[in-house]
Symmetry: C2
Subunit: 191 residues, 2 copies
């Protein structure tokens, strides 16, 4: 997505070879025109999938997922992160290790909100090692729901998670794919 | 907002005299048609205020705030909750006590994203004692920004936070105002 790549180049900050800071338009201050356009693009990319729900995980993917769900005309479901699982009611729960934050957490979703008839589009802001995405796929599997694909705002291709998931048959569409990144040489996009 | 009151009556669950569960359409599974309508309504209510940014706090108000900001054509800024403040960079920070969760946290926002010229609309999903809202107002004051008002999805009037803020001159507009609530007698709306 050209609009996004241009914005990353203009306003993104490469803090280290691993960390791209985009909180001036995506994570903390959010350009709502841009995320509406992202939602429109995800809807176009997965228009033939019969999506019934958009699934994301709190908190930084929520805004993009909400606009995507709105374009599809379907609900959004947010998996919660709990360090120790203490929520009440019937939950699907899966263990996730965050490499970025070097901590473990449980991703949980109330059973009422995912069902075997659902055809899910998973949305997240970043894809690096893919651990959060694998957690969301596990939650979908526990519910017997079909994962039609994953829509990612920024994929760090060199961290391998995206291709690992594609290799096991998950359709992953990323609006910006970063092939390499360094403080010294900046950002190189795929293609 | 009639649409919201009807939905609360239909799908909300009064778990105790204090706790209203609306996670089937507002907090965990989100009806994106409904939150778009809420955003439209907040935009109508505060249309004469020259709003430059919408401010919210993670995580459950993000979706409503995002649609509101989109209707205004302005960015949304998300204050982060940190149990202990360990984020880098220049931050405005304020202490908040959550009565619901009975814990303290710091609400923080990067200084770059709030400035003295800003005219802010604060959006949140619930207003009870008003502690989160007071925290957001403090962040705005630290930046020298003008708080034009607060848009709340559900105000629990009997918990007093809303009227406390109105009494100190904050314009608070709530889409549903709950006058009283109990497991035995259900929900009574104001007016």
């Amino acid at each position: 997505m050209k609009l996004l790549e241009e914005r990353i180049i203009r306003d993104g900050k490469v803090l280290s070879d691993d960390i791209l800071k985009v909180d001036s338009f995506l994570n903390q201050q959010i350009d709502t025109y841009l995320i509406d356009e992202m939602g429109r693009e995800f809807c176009r990319l997965f228009s033939d999938c019969g999506i019934t729900k958009v699934l994301t995980i709190e908190a930084s993917g929520i805004a993009v997922a909400a606009f995507t769900a709105w374009h599809f005309g379907v609900p959004m479901v947010i998996a919660k992160k709990t360090v120790s699982s203490n929520m009440s009611g019937d939950m699907y729960s899966t263990h996730v290790h965050s490499f970025t934050k070097n901590r473990d957490y449980d991703a949980v979703v109330t059973k009422d909100y995912l069902c075997a008839n659902d055809r899910l589009l998973i949305i997240d802001d970043f894809l690096a090692s893919g651990s959060a995405l694998k957690g969301l796929i596990s939650l979908a599997e526990l519910a017997g729901a079909k994962v039609c694909g994953a829509g990612i705002v920024i994929e760090k291709v060199y961290q391998g998670g995206g291709n690992l998931l594609r290799n096991i048959g998950i359709r992953v569409e990323s609006l910006a794919k970063i092939e390499s990144m360094s403080v010294k040489d900046g950002i190189v996009f795929s293609d």
